[in-house]
Structures are given as structure tokens and as C-alpha cells.
């Protein structure tokens, strides 16, 4: 078994109103110096040894990500 992390983030050119709301809230809470926040998603998959990298890329691209608006990164994490 291995742990695989898929990070999905909105593309840079896509407006992220959730990230903007967080920036606004940080300012109201008194945290200064935070120029920008972008909010994405992190998926943690427990996969067995039969799942190869090509399959993981397909899982990320076909289901976990809408590639019109999001980018993804797949990484295997050491146990």
C-alpha cells in the first residue's frame, strides 16, 4: 500500500472568490502582510502496488480535476 496525494488548485487566471474572502477575513482578524490566498483541494488516496502512475494521472485528470478550471499535482508520499 502507498499513500498518494493529489493537490487540485484553481488555475491562476480563474477568479477564486473563496480565496479572496479568506484574505478579507485575515485582514479583519488583524493578520497583516497576507497578499493573496488561493483555495484548492487535497485528496489522499490509499492505493495498492498494482496502481501505476499512469492510472493515478488518469484518476486525477478524469475525475478529481476539472481541467477547464483547475490544475493538479500527483505525488506518492512515503509511509
Amino acid at each position: 500500500m502507498a499513500r498518494v496525494v493529489v493537490d487540485v488548485m484553481p488555475k491562476a487566471e480563474i477568479l477564486d472568490p473563496q480565496g479572496q474572502a479568506i484574505v478579507g477575513a485575515l485582514g479583519r482578524l488583524g493578520f497583516s502582510g497576507i497578499a493573496d490566498v488561493r483555495q484548492g483541494k487535497r485528496f489522499e488516496l490509499e492505493v495498492d502496488d498494482t496502481v501505476d502512475d499512469v492510472t493515478l494521472e488518469r484518476i486525477a485528470e478524469e475525475l478529481l480535476t476539472n481541467t477547464v478550471i483547475e490544475n493538479f499535482n500527483v505525488s506518492r508520499v512515503a509511509e
Binding site: E13, I14, L15, P17, Q18, A21, L63, L64, N66, V68, I69
Partner: protein, 226 residues
């Protein structure tokens, strides 16, 4: 003959009943379709209605797109069957690749529930032939993720090909690109829009009966082809 128009129900769909009712009011035979079946029951057209299919888990429409019924819809659409996606249905059609672009969280993050004036920008699609070009129609909008976006170059292409079908006429409510409320496939047989024409079919229950135009239009198309 009577046109048979299918309405799909997914877990979490909530506007299927109104869509069925709109089809009936327009004079066609509504056919209820279940997401887990693959049988289209010989319908002439399909409506993917609004709601929160699969709880909007992962992304709105992302799970519904893989339902067995959607596989059949994608195959039938490739052969020219008219398809209408309303609100969550529009999101499903974009996730399925039947329409370009994507629907994202509203600018300002508010869920917007109010009647909106829409301008008809194309009356050559299968679902809009009954409208005058440039007509303004009053249709309820109720969505939190209705901000249409498309990859670079795609918006210009949609404009150039006449695939922008409806725009918001009374100010942009959600930050949607080019004020887009609805678009079509290149051949005009697939249309998706965020506002709800099925909620505007009679003055008693809606702000107008302007929504009927979409259903009349597709019925015209089906009967003309019979």
C-alpha cells in the same frame, strides 16, 4: 404524434418535478428517467434538470456525469438528440463535455435566488426557435455556482459561432463571463442555462410564462422531424 421528452432524476435532483410539469403544460409527454438506468425509453429529447445531484460532492455535476443514464445521453446527443441542461443540469453537461467551459462559484459567494431578465441572443438553437431575437424574458435564477468561465479563446469562439444563447439583461448577477446565462453546442441541439425556465411556465406559480418558449421550440423541432 406527441413528442416524448425525458427528464432525468439523480440522487439530489430537485427540479425534475417542475420540468416534468413544464413539458406537460407545453403539450408534450414527459418521460421520467432514472440516473441508474441506461434506457432512454425512446424519448425524442432529454432535459437534465436542476438540483444538487450527488450533493454536488467533488464538483457540481462531476459525479452525475458518470451515471449510466448520462452515458446514454452522451451517445444519443452525438447522434443529434436535443438536450437541455438547466442549472445543475448545465453543470452536468459541461462536466460531461457536451458543452464547453465550466460553472464556478459566484463572484461575491452569495447564493442568488431571484427573477432575472434574460436577453435571447440566439433563436436558431433547437430550444429557442420560438423566441424573437433580442427578446427579454423573465426567468428565476437560483444558484451559488453560476459564474460561467471558458478557456482562453473559447469565449471569442462562442461569440463568433453564435453559441451564446442567453445573457443577463439586468446586470450581471454572478460575475459570469460576457454576462452569459446560457450557451449551446455548435449545432444548437444542446443548450445549457443557469436560470430555470421550468419555473416560469404560468403566472400562478412563476414570474411569467416565458420559460415555455424553450419547451415549445423543442416540440416544434421533434414534430417537424417526425
Amino acid at each position: 404524434m406527441t413528442a416524448r421528452i425525458g427528464v432525468i432524476t439523480f440522487p439530489g435532483t430537485l427540479d425534475d418535478v417542475d420540468a416534468v410539469r413544464a413539458v406537460r403544460i407545453a403539450g408534450a409527454e414527459p418521460v421520467e428517467l432514472w440516473h441508474g438506468d441506461a434506457d432512454l425509453k425512446s424519448v425524442d429529447a432529454v432535459i437534465v434538470p436542476g438540483g444538487f445531484s450527488y450533493g454536488d460532492y467533488l464538483r457540481a455535476g462531476a459525479i452525475a456525469r458518470f451515471a449510466p443514464m448520462m452515458g446514454s445521453v452522451i451517445d444519443a446527443a452525438a447522434k443529434g438528440m436535443p438536450v437541455l441542461g438547466i442549472c445543475n443540469g448545465f453543470q452536468v453537461l459541461c462536466e460531461a463535455g457536451l458543452l464547453p467551459g465550466a460553472l464556478t462559484r459566484n463572484e461575491g459567494l452569495h447564493f442568488i435566488c431571484r427573477d432575472e431578465w434574460l436577453k435571447v441572443q440566439s433563436n436558431t438553437t433547437t430550444w429557442t426557435t420560438r423566441f424573437e431575437l433580442g427578446a427579454e424574458i423573465l426567468i428565476p435564477l437560483k444558484s451559488g455556482e453560476g459564474r460561467y468561465v471558458a478557456p482562453p479563446g473559447k469565449l471569442e469562439e462562442l461569440e463568433g459561432e453564435g453559441q451564446i444563447v442567453f445573457t443577463y439583461a439586468g446586470g450581471n448577477p454572478n460575475g459570469s463571463a460576457l454576462d452569459i446565462a446560457g450557451i449551446s453546442s455548435r449545432d444548437g441541439r444542446i443548450v445549457g442555462l443557469m436560470p430555470h425556465p421550468e419555473h416560469a411556465t404560468e403566472p400562478l406559480t412563476g414570474p411569467s410564462d416565458d420559460g415555455l418558449g424553450l419547451f415549445y421550440s423543442v416540440i416544434d423541432s421533434v414534430l417537424a422531424a417526425a
